[in-house]
């Protein structure tokens, strides 16, 4: 399998705060890699560096060959003064209405084509963002917290969709999540990040590793009820002395 990118020894600080410390990772074509970690662990910064939106203080990201990247940002904030429909939003990436309709059908919301973007629910917004990323026919899909603002059933459906899309297109996927249990079924590799790479491997290996337990707390590792997870996660962070904001 070909490598989509190699990130080597990335280091980043903002002011005197160290965000990323010597982080390296690779992504192969067709592979799903999930970054997990507590709030403030540097997940989004790492993604932004890989996308070229942020320059690291040290280290680099190498793309062996130029690839098309589809990006699904964490959220979409559109001012209500902007009367923009879903079709108008998608047209910003591809002016062909046929392509836009197909992309929207692929994410299973074809009926929302003429809906104003500001009238979408959390789950619908995430799917529209995914459709826009797909319009680029990406070889690498970067998803920053793709299930944010989506209810539990919707989260599972969205992860299932993401893994279907990987199967159909063969694109590599880099995904940010803060819930390992939800993404377990949908990911090949996991990197547990807390400013540095704490541990990495298959989801099973990571959830069994001591570094993961130390970061998220032992109860979280065994716990499957997700509503309490968020709460535990914060407790776990404070327990291991990490800063978060």
């Amino acid at each position: 399998m070909t490598t989509l990118f190699n990130a080597r020894n990335l280091r980043l600080s903002l002011g005197d705060k160290l965000i990323l410390d010597d982080v390296s990772l690779d992504l192969l074509a067709g592979q799903i890699l999930t970054l997990i970690g507590p709030n403030g662990a540097g997940k989004t910064s790492l993604v932004r560096i890989i996308l070229g939106l942020l320059k690291p203080d040290a280290g680099n990201v190498v793309f062996p060959r130029p690839i098309r990247i589809g990006y699904m940002p964490q959220k979409l904030h559109i001012d209500t003064t902007l009367p923009l429909s879903v079709s108008g939003f998608l047209a910003l990436a591809d002016r062909n209405p046929e392509h836009c309709r197909n992309a929207l059908a692929r994410v299973e919301i074809p009926h929302l084509l003429e809906r104003p973007v500001t009238a979408l629910s959390g789950g619908e917004t995430q799917r529209v963002l995914l459709a826009r990323a797909l319009l680029r026919k990406p070889e690498l899909l970067v998803l920053d917290e793709p299930v944010q603002g989506v209810d539990i059933n919707g989260q599972e459906a969205l992860y299932r969709l993401i893994s279907l899309i990987r199967g159909e297109t063969g694109c590599g996927i880099l995904m940010v999540s803060h819930d390992l249990h939800l993404v377990m079924a949908a990911t090949d590799q996991v990197i547990c990040l807390n400013r540095h790479v704490c541990c990495h491997g298959t989801p099973e290996a990571v959830s069994a590793s001591p570094a993961y337990t130390e970061l998220f707390g032992v109860r979280t590792a065994l716990y499957t009820h997700r509503h309490d997870h968020q709460h535990d996660l914060h407790g776990g962070v404070e327990h291991c002395g990490g800063r978060h904001d």
């Binding site: 996308l51 939106l53 979409l76 559109i78 003064t81 902007l82 009367p83 923009l84 429909s85 108008g88």
Partner: protein
């Protein structure tokens, strides 16, 4: 109708035409205060033009771009909020502009005309200049419509999709500086932002897409110019403020209609 009135109407309509699309961007990007700052600095531009004997329009554009660059540099310091920085730049440049006017030896400057516009004194050449500048602005916005809209909707997404965000923003600044240079004559530096923001806000209530909002904004702007010129003719009111008040009344009337999503 007399010639000077027709000329005033023509010049006003030229500015109204661009106030729709550019005003829409000012509203969407929440640049109203920024526009105000650039407009205030235009007075400094006029003074600089007189000092250095260069064309006032050109001097205004240059000073506006300088102030925009100055703001970018100050924003990088991350020490003060942008609206505070704008407040500093806006009012110090306005004050400096007024003082510079008084200090220019032998210059007889009609400060009121600069602050509130002097549409009745517009010359045929100036009217032509307004339409040429308006044409350039419209062409730029038409050409860059999709990238301009894309960076307004989500800047980072646009960047990942290959849009050169820096250049598109620079183009937006340039169009804003151009419009300020031509709108000065019509409504004066203190009221320029009104002509950008109010017609766009009025259009929002009727628009179902970004492009229809831009076009309806031009229509609202043109109506405001007609109202202002007519009021000024019938009741002898100052023309610039009459145009702005006309825009305000149109907006008030638009409130009667429910906003489209």
């Amino acid at each position: 109708m007399t010639d000077f009135l027709l000329l005033a109407l023509l010049a006003g309509l030229g500015v109204a035409l661009v106030s729709g699309p550019l005003g829409a961007f000012v509203v969407w990007r929440r640049m109203a205060y920024f526009g105000d700052t650039l407009a205030h600095s235009a007075l400094l531009g006029i003074a600089a033009g007189l000092w250095l004997s260069i064309a006032p329009g050109l001097a205004v554009i240059l000073i506006c771009l300088l102030i925009a660059l100055g703001l970018l540099a100050l924003q990088r310091q991350h020490t003060l909020a942008t609206d505070t920085l704008l407040g500093i730049l806006s009012h110090s440049s306005l004050a400096l502009g007024i003082i510079a006017m008084y200090l220019i030896p032998g210059a007889r400057v009609d400060l009121e005309a600069l602050l509130f516009g002097d549409l009745l004194a517009v010359t045929p050449l100036e009217t032509l200049g307004i339409w040429v500048a308006a044409g350039v602005v419209l062409a730029l916005i038409y050409r860059l419509w999709t990238p301009m809209l894309a960076i307004t909707v989500h800047e980072e997404l646009a960047r990942v999709e290959g849009i050169n965000v820096g250049w598109v923003k620079a183009a937006l600044m340039l169009t804003l500086a151009l419009v300020i240079a031509i709108a000065m004559k019509v409504v004066g530096v203190l009221l320029i932002t009104a002509l950008l923001v109010i017609p766009a806000a009025t259009a929002r209530r009727f628009a179902s897409s970004p492009s229809s909002m831009a076009m309806l904004g031009s229509v609202a702007g043109a109506l405001a110019v007609c109202l202002g010129v007519a009021a000024s003719w019938w009741w002898d009111t100052p023309m610039g403020p009459s145009i702005v008040l006309g825009a305000g009344l149109l907006f008030a009337a638009s409130l009667l209609r429910r906003q489209r999503a």
